[in-house]
Each structure stands twice: as C-alpha cells, then as structure tokens.
C-alpha cells in the first residue's frame, strides 16, 4: 500500500512514503542490534561464571584430603559443587530462551557461541572429575533443557566440540599441578591417556568445524606438557627403588611440613597462579 502513495507524482508524498518505510527498517535494525548487544553481554556473563567454576573445580580437586576421604571422593565433591554453581549459568540460559526462539537462534549463534563453549568446558571438566569420561552431546543438551524437556535452544555440534577441545587445557593444568600430590602420578597418567584419546577423536573433524584446527594445536601442546611431566617423573622415580606409595609418602611429607610453616601464603599463591595461566592462554 505504501507503493500507491509513492505512485503519486507530488514530491511531498513520495518523501512521506520513504519515511514510513525507512521507519520500519529502523525499527527492524534497532531490534536486531539491541538483541545482539543483550546476547553479547549475557554471553560475557556466562563466560565469567563458567571461568569461576573452572577455578573452583581446580581449587577443590587439588585441595587437601579429609582424613577418611580418597582422591575420587574429593573429585566427586568438586564436581558436585561445580554442578551446583553451573546451575546459575543454566538459569541464565533459560532466561535467554525467548531471545533465541525459532530462527533467532541461528541469527545470533555467533554472539552466544563464546559463552556456550566456556560453559561446556566447565561442565565437561566437572563431568570428568565426577565420572572420568567425556560428557556426551545429549548430556550437555540435557542441562540446557527445561523440566518439561523443551530445549532452551538447539546445541550445535561445533560448540560442543570446541567446548570439549578447551577441556584438554584444563586437564593439563589439573594433571600437572596435582602431580606432586598423593596419587598424582596415576592421575596424570589417566589424564594423559584421556587427552590423547580426545586429540585422536577430534582429528578427523578439523575440516568440518571452523576454529577446531587452532584448538587442536593447543591440545597438542597441552598433551606434550603432560607427557613431559610424566616422563620426568618416570625418570626420577627410577632412581629410587621404592614403591609408588612410599614415594607418595615422602613427597607428601615434605609438602605438608612446608605447608605447616606457610600454609596461607601457599594457598593464596596457587589461586593466583591459576588465574595467570588462564589469562595467558586466552
């Protein structure tokens, strides 16, 4: 109908027709830009929350064992606390649902992708500590689904894989900073095998998923660091003719005697180290 206004010859009405049309274009563009900004902001919040969860997981999983607690229980405890904290992220996603409904999800996929990958990294780390396995695609999607079983948005394979790809870096940190703890060498070996498996599995998807190539090379570096650490430990333990348990005890003893004198300083120092590490990798 705007066309009929345009059809009249008078310049005034022609201009008016233009104004009306461009008014609707403006509304359309503004709506797009505003939603985009909101989603970028939300994505940033989610990234921050997820990073905090990752620190939390490291902190608890590397913490001191309670008297009648073993490694596994500690890791599970860490995972539980991580899961609880990640519910805040899930809550944020549930609130974003209207912004991402229908065809909107793909329109803004690039905006929410960074936060989502960080979330998947945190979630998969908690899952690893809990079960020792890689979280599946369905398990991730399930955390982004309301109680009635309706997804907040469709998870994409590429975000899933890229999130998992970041996990390997966290696992490297986890393995290396824990290597001097009781049972740390066994843990490091498990992590090493696990990361190696991830790397092998992901290799074939490089042509399919953009950015995966870059992340794979980071994974390779992480893997190498773990391998080097495992190698150093192997070489040094061979110098002593002791069982792994006894070696653990010797290391643990010297650590705890050191801790007693400067416990607080060490505790704080470790937290700082982690965050520094995080900054440099990003």
């Amino acid at each position: 109908m705007a066309a009929t206004i345009i059809n009249t010859d008078a310049t005034a009405s022609t201009s008016q027709g233009f104004v009306d049309r461009f008014d609707t274009f403006r509304a359309d563009l503004d709506d797009y830009n505003d939603r985009r900004e909101r989603l970028i902001k939300a994505s940033r919040d989610i990234t921050n929350l997820s990073k905090k969860v990752i620190f939390l997981l490291h902190r608890i999983a590397q913490g001191n064992l309670e008297p009648n607690q073993d490694d596994e229980a500690l890791a599970k405890d860490a995972a539980q606390q991580g899961y609880a904290k990640l519910r805040e992220v899930q809550e944020l996603y549930s609130r974003l649902r209207p912004e991402l409904q229908g065809d909107k999800f793909w329109r803004y996929q690039r905006q929410i992708s960074p936060g989502l990958q960080e979330y998947i990294e945190a979630l998969s780390f908690a899952h690893y500590l809990d079960k020792g396995t890689l979280i599946t695609f369905d398990e991730v999607q399930k955390t982004l689904t309301d109680p009635e079983g309706i997804e907040y948005f469709p998870l994409t394979i590429s975000d899933y894989l890229l999130g998992l790809s970041d996990l390997t870096g966290e696992l490297m940190r986890f393995a290396i900073s824990g290597i001097a703890h009781r049972g740390g060498r066994r843990k490091a070996q498990n992590v090493c095998a696990f990361v190696r498996g991830c790397k092998a599995d992901f290799e074939r998807w490089i042509p399919y998923v953009r950015e995966l190539k870059k992340k794979q090379s980071v994974t390779s570096q992480s893997l190498e660091k773990i391998e080097d650490a495992a190698y150093a430990i192997m070489v040094r333990t061979s110098e002593y003719d002791l069982s792994p348990e006894m070696l653990d005890d010797i290391v643990a003893q010297s650590i705890s005697s050191y801790r007693d004198t400067s416990r607080q300083a060490v505790g704080r120092g470790r937290g700082d180290d982690l965050s520094d590490d995080e900054d440099t990798t990003n």
């Binding site: 022609t14 201009s15 233009f18 461009f22 274009f25 399919y208 998923v209």
Partner: protein, 222 residues
C-alpha cells in the same frame, strides 16, 4: 569418546556437508542468472529512453526465473535455519533485489518495496524461518541501485537525455533521507552508506551542468 557417540557426530557433520553442497548447487544456478541479468542491465547506459522499456522487458523473464531457484532452495533449508546458511547466497540475492528495484525505477520511477521484491523473487512470507529477504540485504540492494544511477545520470546526458539526471537526483535524495534515519552500526552497510554521498555529489554535478546550460525546461526544486 564412545564409538556410538563418535559415529553420531560423524553422521551429523556429514549431513551438514551434504546440505552445504546442495545449497551451493542452487546458489551457482542463481549466480548464473545474475550474470545474465547484470550483463543486460549494463546496457541501460547506452540505451535511449524510447528503447528502454524493451530492454527492461528482456530482463524480466530471467529475473522471474529466480523463483525456481528460491522454491528449490527453501526445500533444502531445514526449519529455523535460515540465518545459518544465508551468507551463502546473500550476494546473489542482493544482486537480484538490485535488478528488481532498478527495473521498477526505470519503468515506473517508483521505489519497489521490500515486500514487492520478495514477491518478484518468489520468496514467500510463510517461509521466513527458512528463506526470506532480510532488511539488510534489501538496503544493500538500494545502495547498489544508487551507485548505478549515478553512472546513469552521466551517461544519459551523453545520450542527450537531459531530464534523466533531474529525476534521478530527486529519487536518490529521498533514498538518502531514508538511509539517514537508520541507526547503522559499523558494518559494511554503514560503510556503503557513507559512500553514498559521493554518488549524490556526482549526480548533483550533472544536474548543475545541465541546468546551468539551460538544457532542460523542468525547473529544479530546491
């Protein structure tokens, strides 16, 4: 990773690749048509007003044949995935929209609306989650039209058509006013909008030359 999970991911990714290839096929088809259209439309710069309708009519069948491509494309795109794939054909569809708007302007001196462009290309509103013509693409097409018209203003004068620049000037100024109402962010659309002023300058120079020499009897409204 669990072998079943591994296989599942492979299947999804392979499926995406297949989809991409199918879309690519259609886009190639569309591009072929676009080259034909742009080729014919190039001739507007050397066509006298009396021959213009015939020239424009010769483009229309090709432009209408785009409907075959859009209706094939919409069958390939999965529900809700319009924005996932649209970058693959953005350029082609912008060219098509450009052609539609230019033809309409040269035929009837009016601005073809977004809805009418969609109709011309056979894009139906009920397809919106799979295939549509977004405002952004339409605006890009309009800017391309202005770029083309600034050239036409010059070439029309060369052919002895002194009124054409005046008409073009009024139309382009209206368009520019429209664009000025938009809050554009720093993207290609913004950059192209910023470039519009050079087209306007060029057109105004032509208008100036023509009116100064009294080559036209239509008075220029200022």
């Amino acid at each position: 990773m669990d072998p079943i999970e591994l296989e599942r991911i492979n299947v999804v990714l392979d499926h995406d690749v297949e989809l991409r290839e199918k879309i690519k096929e259609q886009v190639n088809e569309l591009d072929k048509k676009m080259r034909t259209i742009v080729g014919i439309l190039n001739k507007i710069h050397s066509t006298r007003p009396e021959a213009m309708p015939a020239l424009l009519d010769s483009v229309k069948p090709v432009l209408n044949s785009c409907q075959a491509v859009t209706s094939a494309l919409v069958l390939i795109i999965p529900k809700n995935q319009f924005w996932r794939w649209k970058d693959m054909w953005s350029n082609s569809i912008r060219t098509a929209a450009f052609a539609a708007v230019l033809i309409e302007y040269l035929s009837n001196r009016t601005l073809l609306s977004l809805e009418k462009v969609s109709d011309t290309l056979g894009v139906r509103s009920e397809w919106s989650d799979r295939l549509s013509l977004p405002v952004e693409d339409y605006l890009h097409a309009l800017i391309t039209v202005v770029n083309e018209l600034s050239r036409l203003a010059v070439n029309a004068v060369t052919l002895g058509n002194f009124e054409e620049p005046l008409k073009i000037s009024a139309f382009v100024k209206d368009l520019f006013t429209g664009f000025s109402m938009l809050n554009l962010k720093n993207d290609t659309l913004r950059r192209r909008f910023d470039g519009l002023k050079y087209d306007i300058k060029k057109i105004e120079e032509v208008v100036y030359d023509v009116s100064l020499r009294n080559l036209t009897n239509i008075s220029v409204e200022k």
